[in-house]
Symmetry: C2
Subunit: 198 residues, 2 copies
Amino acid sequence: MSGRGEIDRLVTLLGRLPGLGPRSARRAALALLRQPQARMLPLADALAQAAHAVRTCSQCGNLDTSDPCAICVDPSRDEGLVCVVENVGDLWALERAGVHRGVYQVLGGTLSALSGTGPDDLNVQPLLDRIAAGGVREVILALGATVEGATTMHWLHERLARFDVRISRVGQGVPVGGALDVLDDGTLAAAIMARRPA
Amino acid sequence: MSGRGEIDRLVTLLGRLPGLGPRSARRAALALLRQPQARMLPLADALAQAAHAVRTCSQCGNLDTSDPCAICVDPSRDEGLVCVVENVGDLWALERAGVHRGVYQVLGGTLSALSGTGPDDLNVQPLLDRIAAGGVREVILALGATVEGATTMHWLHERLARFDVRISRVGQGVPVGGALDVLDDGTLAAAIMARRPA
């Protein structure tokens, strides 16, 4: 169809977002096109502003409009307790849950032969520097319970062993609200091994 | 979380797109934030351009960068054959299939007491004008097989009856590639009633 280059381009770009296929990209484009002033221009504006304002925190790897990020400069956070996560999405999830009162280190990935991610690709030097400078009591390894996550935790454990710092990892088991009969064997085994007195 | 207003605003606006919930909006925002130059700014630009360039065709109701739209001015299309659809998404679907060589009339909705859409809310006057001016041989009612679609087709049929124009509606039956045992009773009944010699 000629004469609708703008629409096609919009549908193509929307369709590249994770979670949107060609079909939902067309639906999204139509919903936006019906309200250009109320919906399209604000979204265009938000994207442009975020693209210009948001940067990576040089200290922990978080995304924020300031560097160091709001978490790193927050005096109420415990700098002695560093939580290591794979990516910013994991950091956001922990912040939404409000369960970690320390600071973070975002690796930006996990060790993976498949995707070609090696030790040099992980953002771990700032953490080593912070530990070497003293003041870090504990490092929580909050990586996914995957082969890559386990490999990365093992590798981190070795690199941190020479420092006088406690190393812990997040607990594994039955998710809150989860029914046992739909869980995989690995999770059930982990839950049994991690059993506590009731 | 303070200091990340731009990110929150982006996630909120993305989450209002149909097909994206809060969770997928966060994933989409993160994917964009990782590539501000390569992904965010082009999308911002595409949205702004489309918002400014795209308008509603005063003749058929299609969305395009020109008015009348590319379909209405295309000399190769049969102006005597008008296909009535509910919305622009339906028009796009028919164009992708490439099954209609005539022009369109986009109603912008269907008659619905529930959503308060009455006859005055439907974009039908241009069609009546076109028919009155002569040159329209056939009107195809391509509305959804829903209560609202059927009501609207019935109402349109009454309004068009006084003109010397053929009125048809799209066939109903088993979708191509569809298995019979997963279809609802209504579709099966329609398929049996619409049977043809094999």
